[in-house]
Symmetry: C2
Subunit: 770 residues, 2 copies
């Protein structure tokens, strides 16, 4: 058991204070945002409706998830560990989940007030700069909360649990990741069901513009932006932050002892400082575009992060591994300079963020070859648009995965071949990447706020041409920042997952040590294969296949859920147009609330399946096949996960912007056949880029954390000679049963498909169709 | 070095004779098929045009690939091995490639003559049964050749090279797999470029039916069926057969010595007998559908295969492992009964074929929930059709991968936890699955023949209503058999790849033994990580990510190639309609040959990139990162490969049949908006199911074989103390450079995208668009 010295405790206390300061800054920034003009009564009414819908959704979501959290809280006690660790871990789980939820809620609640303020600002002189500032600062508040709460949680756990902190923090990270995953899935289904449904009836069938108040799904569409893009992304990035911290604390303690525990906290404290700096310095100068200002903010933050990291490393670490107290035996004779090595890893992380930013921009930007090519294929119809977008998605996934792989290889070389040091450095590179997280969250939140501002303006009809132009500009900036931050979120997820993968190995070897070599040798051949990490074993390969399969299944479920929910919205909006002919002439007001309600119910119903799958698949594989195949499973998950996440995000981004190219007047412009083809592409891309794709990030981490938590239990149930394999297999079967049941019922949820419309087979959707 | 006893040599000689008999049967069957009435002069003229186009394409393809084969032949000499092995392996490579090409050519050349005979038969009394028989028997000829040539090649190598046979056979399998991959990719691009191009202009723009002679792309479309579905699939299944044999000979020799070398040959000889049986007994009785007859043939063959396998196992093997001469040390005290174990593995393989057959039918059949659901989403437009089809693809990939994984786990349990025995049994399960290969090839070839027969009938205009009905029925049967054999081909590929993965491990451990433990210990940490199979090492994880990435890239390249080539066809067909207005009125004859020519040129140009990627990616990973990460790479390839292959095949199949459901009169029937939506879905699915998806099978095996071949060289260049790492890294960089160059130039091949139509930026496609 590691005992922390006074110096370490002092440093961690200072870090906790920094975290609190970050939260205070957030409160101040929030006050500044809310001080802006809140717009006309009509605008406020619309914004109020959006806020009401979003709050109602999140509250119901939290109620549902609360039950789930309590169950998991109880299950955590069943896992083998000291009682104090078990209690701490379960409590930390609740804190992690609670913080994740709080940040999501905060992001949403501020965004729904910021949007109307941006809309109001657009009409005033200097509105563009001022509007951009409100939008960015609102995101800044969320960003500061992400770093503040993340750091506070981690520092608090270290102060309370000292040497037990890594094990307890597993609970914190798990809570954060699990909640974030649910918010991503639920919010993602909500936002895209509403968006797709609104577009299919409004744009395609009725030919009315986006955000037209006659479309009953508009309010739901705007609510979705807030609960999906805004609350979901904030929770997701918080979770990445927490998980990277957790992994680096675990691996740091293994590799370097006490200093390895404190160092990652120091690195992320830098993130808090840098975030504050980034948010404050980002302001639009003169007539420059909002994007230029934001990019400047990002790059300045990145450079400041590297400089500060170098200062910290040189101040805190000695220049030789042998001088680090508590360094692991195999690192004691490492000839490298730890200061340089640590800084190099952080630089790799920061550089990775920069490269991904550029690469995502290249694949999804309107100016570059891939997206222009997708737009060009609209001349031969929707099928070629879909195919070329899928091609872009596949290629971009490969390049992004290749860059991330290169970063990991780079870190491996920096580590000089020591696997444990390399794993710790991967985690530190993740910390490096996340020094800019404050700015990234702000960039991302910019998107839904400016999107909503445009919606509010359009629906209120009170913003003039000048103001509308300003809002369109801001919206375009928001689209770009939203797309690039997705790339970064994925890169973070992969680094975090790789580090967690290392933590898993650490947990397995500790557990094997406890069971003792005698136990392992006494075990028979099957068990030996279960605990072997040998990648060549056929059941490890089975693990890899199943890991990839889980990612495919999860993506398919998320997309199917959107398809189903959007179908319900389409029928509802059609029904309103049919039954209230006054809507089209502006005489009747559509029933917005009913659409919001359908979205809410459907997303909450649909989010259970992917969630159960993520939680139970690793349990089934681990207890059923052993820790070796579970490692294979995780490797398969990470490999397929990064590829699938980028594929989904970037093909969606390319379709979105290909549509914009056509709407700008190319290939016939709006209303042409080419336009219709790109609208179909964009609709296909919606659940790709905003539901399934982003949810894969937390998915990967949830599965890694579950594996990390269960590894000791699996070994206790499989290695010793006197063990009862029945229990192990029973657990595997129950877990597989729960996941399988959830999946099979989801697929049937749409009801029977009624091809011929026989009255006895009629199901709700079919009966409402024309 | 293994010396073969007289008994073994006698058995192998008998097997060679069985192989020759199978080929003689093929010749007799071929004569029977050609004896049927060849139809009217007009029909013969059309069939002649198709034959001419197909022959021209294949001949040019073989010329192109010949150059490539010579280069590989030379490169094989560079790999470390005894001179006799090197010579043998290089020559065997040529034989493998030659046989693969010959079978593809044979399949094509017979199919183009069978199609017109089926069309002619349709008009006669009893035409349905007779037509089905011609189509099935033509496929039977190809099936008999597959088993005959595969078995003859393997037995010949064993007779000549004795104990060196496994190493030499690597060359045979590699040649077969490489050629098959090229034929799959090239043929797949050809057939779908023509099909998509024909549909986009003919069906969608001009509203003329499929196979209408006024469409300039019809002949090319029919040529494509023969060079893609027919030649490609035949070569693919031959390659699976050869590769499973190779892997099981390697693993069998390691596990059981001499008897392990002979046993797989015996099992596949059973396949030859069973194939003959299946082809002869399959005949339509009374008024039953062709499908019933074919399924009966399949199941009888499967049962016969199991029975014969049991007889062989009991006759040939002793009842205890200890009694097997040359059994490996760790198997000598295995308590299982080898007879039972072997039969159980074969049963797993045969059962797997049956389950996959059913599962594929479920996901893509017009009667089951998934496809009906896709059809139902056509009511909300093309976007929801595309999304729901993608959902079906993802889920079906997961179930199929899960079943295959379960089969591997089952074999692992049968092996009692011995990894090497398990690997051999996986290979034997592959042999079991392939006992039915003769019937499977026949089933698959049935598809393009009946499809073409309909095309010939439609174009000649000489088949009456009765005959047309018969041909439509046969075509529907062909669609189903084509879809289900794809599932089996993928299952075979996974088993073959898993077994090859084991052979790879075998090669690595032999090579490490040769280098000696001293060398390995002298090596530094980085090298130790390179040869470690530890799945937890970050660079092994990098290998997994890169393996998955290669599959994604390959799929993307194949789909992009079709999109590009189809675009060219669209512009050409549009040009012909524009410049020759007489085509629509039937006065002018379209220039079919020009479309065939464009398809030929484009597919040959496009096939190089995916081919180079497949060959060079493992070289780059192996020499660059080491044998451990290369194992990770292969695992990633297999995991992502099986999922992607099934996803692509089954989403494509579901879209195809969803269109059929609508065409049968549901949701508005032909010409409705729902129909248009499903046509878009079907077009998206075309390159999925017939280009990218099927090409992944040989891809996985090519990459495994390349890894197997280079493993000793990688170890020689990385482990010993006095080694020069420069050469290793140089090789990796050159390989990465070649693959990278091929990929980057392919993406740019479409030329600059001309958004605004400025004269200086004009590129060929844009300038021809309206």
């Amino acid at each position: 058991m590691l005992e922390l010295g006074t110096t370490s405790l002092t440093i961690v206390s200072v870090i906790a204070v920094i975290a609190i300061v970050a939260l205070v800054v957030a409160v101040l920034l929030r006050r500044q945002v809310l001080a802006a003009d809140a717009g006309s009564p009509k605008m406020q009414e619309i914004a109020g409706a959006i806020e009401e819908g979003a709050q109602a959704y999140l509250r119901r979501q939290f109620r549902t998830l609360g039950v789930f959290a309590v169950v998991v809280f109880a299950l955590l006690f069943l896992l083998p560990a000291d009682l104090s660790v078990r209690i701490g871990r379960a409590v930390a789980f609740l804190f992690g989940a609670g913080f994740s939820a709080a940040i999501g809620y905060l992001g949403m609640s501020l965004a729904v007030r910021a949007n109307v303020r941006v809309a109001a600002a657009s009409e005033k002189p200097g509105g563009r700069a001022f509007g951009a500032r409100i939008a960015f600062r609102s995101g800044g508040v969320v960003g500061m909360c992400v770093v503040g709460l993340g750091l506070l949680g981690a520092a608090g756990v270290v102060l309370v649990f000292r040497g037990d902190a890594p094990a307890v923090l597993e609970g914190f990270g798990f809570g954060a990741a699990l909640l974030a995953m649910f918010m991503r899935v639920g919010g993602g289904i909500f936002t895209k069901a509403a968006d797709v449904g609104a577009d299919l009836v409004g744009k395609v069938e009725q030919g009315i513009p986006e955000d037209d108040p006659r479309n009953a799904a508009t309010i739901a569409d705007n609510v979705g932006d807030n609960v999906g893009d805004c609350a979901g992304m904030a929770a997701d990035l918080f979770e990445s932050y927490a998980v990277v911290l957790v992994a680096s604390l675990i691996l740091g303690t293994t590799a370097l002892g006490e200093q390895g525990l404190v160092l990652p906290l120091l690195m992320t404290a830098i993130g808090a400082v840098v975030a504050g700096l980034g948010v404050v310095i980002t302001r639009v100068r003169g007539s420059e575009s909002g994007l230029t200002a934001i990019n400047r903010g990002f790059y300045i933050s990145a450079v400041a992060g590297v400089v500060l990291a170098a200062v910290v490393a040189v101040t805190y670490l000695p220049s030789s591994f042998a001088d680090i107290e508590g360094v692991s035996a195999d690192l004691a004779d490492h000839t490298g300079n730890p200061q340089l090595i640590v800084v190099a890893a952080v630089v790799v992380g920061v550089a990775l963020a920069g490269v991904i930013l550029w690469l995502t921009g290249y694949f999804t930007g309107t100016e570059s070859f891939p997206t222009r090519n997708v737009a060009a294929t609209s001349r031969t119809g929707a099928a070629t648009v879909v195919l070329s977008g899928i091609g872009v998605g596949f290629s971009s996934a490969v390049y992004t995965a290749g860059i991330i792989a290169a970063a990991i290889c780079g870190v491996f070389l920096i580590a000089g071949g020591s696997v444990w040091l390399a794993l710790f450095l991967v985690a530190l590179a993740g910390c490096g990447l996340l020094t800019t997280v404050g700015v990234i969250v702000a960039m991302d939140t910019f998107g839904p706020i400016s999107d909503n501002a445009q919606g509010v303006a359009e629906m209120s009809g009170e913003v003039g041409e000048e103001g509308a132009k300003v809002l369109t500009d801001l919206d375009a900036v928001g689209n770009t920042t939203k797309a690039v931050t997705k790339g970064i979120a994925i890169a973070t997820a992969v680094l975090a997952a790789t580090a967690l993968f290392g933590s898993y190995a650490d947990a397995v070897s500790s557990a094997l040590e406890e069971v003792g070599a005698a136990g392992a040798q006494a075990a028979d051949d099957v068990v030996a294969a279960m605990v072997a990490y040998d990648i060549i074993s056929p059941i490890t390969l089975v693990g890899v296949i199943l890991g990839g399969a889980t990612v495919f299944l999860f993506s398919g479920l998320a997309i199917d859920a959107v398809t189903r929910a959007a179908g319900a919205i389409v029928f509802e909006v059609r029904r309103q147009f049919r039954e209230m002919p006054g809507i089209m002439t502006g005489k009747d007001r559509p029933d917005y609330a009913r659409v919001v309600d359908i979205c809410t119910k459907d997303s909450l119903r649909e989010l259970a399946t992917p969630g159960l799958l993520a939680a139970f698949a690793p349990i089934a594989v681990g207890f059923g096949l052993g820790v070796g195949p579970l490692a294979g499973f995780l490797a398969g998950t990470i490999g397929a996960g990064v590829l699938m996440a980028v594929f989904l995000a970037n093909s969606g981004g390319a379709w979105d912007n290909a549509k914009k190219i056509v709407e700008d007047g190319h290939y016939g412009g709006k209303g042409s056949e080419a336009h219709e083809a790109t609208v179909i592409g964009d609709t296909v891309g919606d659940p790709f880029k905003d539901t399934a794709g982003p949810a894969i990030n937390p998915l990967i981490k949830v599965m890694n954390l579950v594996s990390l938590l269960i590894a000791p239990a699996v070994i206790q149930l499989s290695v010793p000679e006197d063990v009862n394999h029945g229990i192990r297999i029973a657990i595997a079967l129950v877990a597989a049963g729960i996941a399988g049941f959830a999946v099979l019922t989801a697929r049937r949820r749409g009801g029977r498909v009624d091809i011929d419309g026989g009255a006895d087979e009629r199901e709700s959707l079919a009966s409402e169709s024309a």
